[in-house]
């Protein structure tokens, strides 16, 4: 009796294998978050006691103040968020044309000062706009569009060289003052 049993086909039924694999696949599809870690990089100044006071000419500083009501004061005048980029570009690329503006892109510094009550959202937008001004100038310098500039791949030597050249021409110099606590 057992013999006759064994003589039958002894294969494992594998037709449901695909279904099982599908279930697992769907589980991983759902749980996967393709890791994309992007952001706006920033380098903080060294500890305050190590820092030497650097004297800068007033005209080489582009001052952006944000108060606790998220209003902007740029170079002493109220301004909309959308106008920062254009103004910042004019300031950075002035090269001494306007005697009361920056002398050269290398000397120009953008100073962003927020209040303790400023919301992070507005601050990040200002930072984004200023970075955009730099990036647009760099892209123009390289003769490419802003999108192309942002796509530059540091692993390709030629593209890295272009990036380094643009960075030398327009070094990102954003100074972040410590938040004040004046309310306002």
């Amino acid at each position: 009796m057992p013999r006759s049993n064994r003589s039958r086909e002894a294969g494992v039924n594998s037709s449901s294998m695909a279904d099982i694999a599908f279930l697992l696949l769907i589980f991983f599809l759902v749980t996967t978050t393709i890791a994309s870690d992007k952001g706006i990089p920033m380098v903080l100044p060294p500890k305050s006691d190590q820092q030497d006071e650097i004297k800068l000419k007033d005209k080489n500083i582009f001052k952006v103040l944000i108060n606790s009501k998220d209003q902007l004061l740029v170079e002493g005048e109220p301004m909309d968020l959308d106008d920062i980029r254009a103004n910042c570009k004019v300031f950075l690329d002035n090269r001494g044309k306007n005697p009361s503006s920056s002398e050269s892109p290398q000397k120009a510094v953008v100073s962003i000062k927020a209040d303790r009550g400023t919301t992070y959202e507005v601050y990040l937008e200002v930072l984004d706009e200023v970075t955009a001004a730099y990036n647009e100038l760099r892209a123009e310098y390289l003769g490419i569009t802003l999108e192309q500039y942002l796509q530059l791949d540091m692993k390709v030597p030629k593209q890295k060289a272009a990036y380094t050249a643009a960075r030398r021409e327009f070094p990102l110099q954003i100074s972040e003052a410590e938040p004040t606590n004046i309310g306002g």
């Binding site: 594998s14 294998m17 695909a18 694999a21 599908f22 697992l24 696949l25 991983f28 599809l29 749980t31 996967t32 978050t33 393709i34 890791a35 994309s36 870690d37 992007k38 952001g39 706006i40 990089p41 920033m42 380098v43 903080l44 100044p45 060294p46 500890k47 305050s48 944000i66 927020a114 209040d115 303790r116 009550g117 400023t118 919301t119 992070y120 959202e121 601050y123 990040l124 937008e125 930072l127 984004d128 970075t131 955009a132 990036n135 942002l150 540091m154 972040e176 410590e178 938040p179 606590n181």
Partner: protein
């Protein structure tokens, strides 16, 4: 005549061989298994990260340490209040503990990479800059000066 010929052709097997299907699915499965990173810590703070356009990708993820800043989630408000807090790993820390935390995290890196450590701040959009300023001061104290304001591209509208 021609109809007859046509009929003959259709008599050929029309089934698609499905024996390779599990293999294909398994390949996909392995791809997703390998790329999946399970979320390491449960968020305890609100995280509505404001969008930005000028983003840079972090090339080396192993150097990154995350700090989450925001108001505690609703079910934790009774215990921790509704003021923005800093969450690292699975716990809340005060600003005075940041230096110690950074040193601990730095110790986990290879010696040659310790000065390249990146702190990625994931900040809720309604957070005030006061606490961010405090964090930055502490990070300067800890000499962890590479900062990254984590963000994403704005959704197309």
């Amino acid at each position: 005549m021609s109809a007859h010929k046509f009929k003959k052709k259709t008599s050929a097997s029309q089934e698609i061989p499905t024996s390779a299907l599990p293999d294909i699915i398994f390949m996909l499965l392995f791809f997703f298994m390998v790329t999946t990173v399970m979320r390491e810590n449960t968020l305890k703070v609100e995280q509505r990260i404001p969008p930005a356009t000028q983003l840079k990708k972090i090339e080396r993820k192993s150097l990154v340490t995350y700090m989450y800043v925001g108001k505690p989630l609703d079910h934790l408000k009774a215990k921790f209040g509704s003021e923005p807090l800093i969450q690292v790993n699975d716990v809340f820390i005060g600003t005075e503990e940041i230096v110690q935390f950074v040193e601990e995290e730095r110790g986990k890196l290879d010696e040659v990479e310790r000065d390249q450590m990146i702190i990625s701040l994931k900040v809720d959009k309604e957070t005030k800059m006061g606490i961010i300023g405090d964090i930055k001061q502490q990070l300067r104290e800890a000499n962890a000066r590479l900062l990254n304001y984590s963000s994403r591209l704005p959704l197309a509208d």
